[in-house]
Symmetry: none
Subunit: 221 residues, 4 copies
């Protein structure tokens, strides 16, 4: 629900969202408007450097500004911390992905989406997620950003997928969705972060088998 940025870099001027009843004046703040070009250049450089070096801690704003051909001030003007910047950059890159399919089977829907997640975790993009979660351990705002922009949007879709399963009778009515979802995704996250066992796409199938197969006739609450 809370969909705002870490510290809203919001829309101050520009072709911004409708403003109420006043149809005549789009109410721009005075002064030179923010450079959209710079903004995107910064986010692009952030992702680029985040994938290269030793992750979040070795990422330095000085380098981002240099890479983006931008003054350091411009970075600091719009993002209060390195964390907020990374969150924004990640979020900008994680727009329309990891949709849930609708195959008529909860098991298949979840399984396929989880496989997609594992694919992302194993790609370059995985480093960004790891950096975000790692950074979040010492920066509550960053963690909140991860939840708001990555976790909740997807989980809302997951709720619908599970609900379809309930409606179809595949899952018992009254199932605790969060409990199920954490039990499905937790194992993937664990292998992703701890790396004690190689994370394969097939692991999605295994976890789904373990968790969902047992549900169709046993109680999940």
């Amino acid at each position: 629900m809370a969909q705002n940025h870490v510290r809203s870099a919001g829309m101050r001027n520009g072709s911004n969202g409708r403003n109420g009843s006043n149809g005549t004046a789009p109410k721009r703040t005075p002064g030179r408007p923010r450079s959209e070009e710079s903004r995107q250049s910064i986010l692009r450089s952030t992702l680029k450097l985040l994938k290269q070096e030793g992750g979040f801690p070795d990422l330095c704003i000085e380098a981002i500004a240099a890479d983006a051909n931008v003054g350091k001030t411009t970075v600091y003007r719009w993002w209060p911390t390195k964390a907020a910047l990374v969150a924004d950059a990640f979020s900008a890159s994680a727009e329309q992905e990891l949709q849930f399919p609708n195959t008529g089977s909860v098991y298949t829907d979840m399984r396929l989406q989880m496989r997609g997640l594992i694919r992302i975790f194993r790609s370059q993009r995985g480093k960004v997620v790891a950096a975000l979660l790692a950074g979040g351990q010492s920066d509550p705002e960053l963690l909140e950003a991860y939840r708001d922009r990555f976790l909740w949007p997807r989980r809302r879709q997951a709720y619908q997928t599970l609900q379809r399963g309930v409606d179809r009778g595949e899952l018992p009515a009254g199932s605790n969705f969060d409990r199920i979802l954490d039990t499905l995704y937790g194992p993937i996250l664990m292998r992703f972060l701890i790396r004690h066992v190689k994370l394969e796409e097939s692991f999605a199938d295994e976890v789904c088998g373990l968790v969902l197969k047992g549900l169709d006739h046993k109680a999940a609450r």
Copy 2:
């Protein structure tokens, strides 16, 4: 007793592994022996500061040395990186806890141990684990330290617990233990790290119910 660090600098001298009666090599290098007092003071300060500040990234060796009343050189002499130091400090504090009980029921054995883990995660010690995992995302050695000193010792015990379940017929023969364990512990780790849902001890019961109850008559492979 003498805990070596990640990039083992071995034991050169000092009051290490007793060799009084051993006739093979009473060899002690010349010079002043390593100060056991300093060593412990450093590890103590490391843990202390790790719990306080913004976790691993904000932890600085300068502060540790100051807090421990020790020269920076002494820290660098014995630990090659901040990560190694933290790993050692963590390791030194990870006494024998989280033993698995043997109640005659896999379900109960796992459930109780998982509750213990959640208790630790929710305590001050949790911050250290979080810091270690966070740091490990950009430092493979640190992550390896976590696995070697925290994960594997416990998991070896868990294997035995599960095996007892198999022996008793509670679990199907040929069960993939790692798959089961990751499905049990992953959800806890997920809630611990992402904090999207409050991590309660009862969550251990719920996950065990979801995962283990379905196993006694469904195949886990």
Copy 3:
């Protein structure tokens, strides 16, 4: 009245240099005329801040613009450098003071005027003069402004005063006026700038005594 700045940007338009009756060029450029209010506000703020902070080097245009409730652009539009601005501000504040009296005695005329100068040096206005001279050491234009607007106007009057002395026979004919004047004012400037001895008004009397008394019967060339 309209004081141009060092690197004269001339007068383009505005309610400046009255040209009502002048038939040659009543030419006024089109467009909005320069805001006299802003101009004075800027000069006022410049002097104000120059007296406060650490003098010329710590004076910053950003602060002037803010203090004057004026856009930075407006300052830069009319004054090419900080130095030019300060020179203008100083110049605008250097009303007709420090007139030379005409008592019938060179000694008295000089002495009284020098006392007036010392009074100014010891007042708030002194800080501005000091800032101007200090800034001038690394900015020839600024120094030139000091000379043109402060030194020469007064010195021209001083020449007349000395000439009256020559005419009256108080000073030898053929006296080198600059040499005399520098010998009179140099000591005051020295104490003002170096502050090794407190600068008192009576010092004017002492220097005049030392320099002028010896002149009426000894040759000054």
Copy 4:
């Protein structure tokens, strides 16, 4: 008298000044001693850059550190401000110069020394003095440094020179030395700083003539 540095970069260790009655322990502070090489390198670079660029205000510590192959920290460790650094650098370069001769004539002694001063003012070194005095107008400590290291040492010598004149009967007994000296040097300083008249060596002769010739039979108090 007060001969200390701006903020004494004093002698903490090294082959320092005799320490009282204890002949055995030269009492070195612990830790790595200050690098004499760095110190000199910094002072050298400071003078070099001060002569080049636009004087004191354009001198930047970053450039000094770079030119001296030294960390910025090292500069800041030993000199609190740019001003203090310049004062030190200047002082280190102004050791044994501008001695007063002893020719048997006050007039000649002063005249020759003043000519030497003018030579310095007209040389590259003059820029440093100007920078020091300019900086001093907004930095009392810097001005104090100028007085302590440049003015007073020389003035003490000047007192002796004048006293010899009194002893010889060239100057009236009870002469106010500071008044005389300011009247002699002030004019030179004025022409040096304001540059309204070219500063020639012969000006020393002229001022001495004007001031000292009148003294041998007129009272200087």
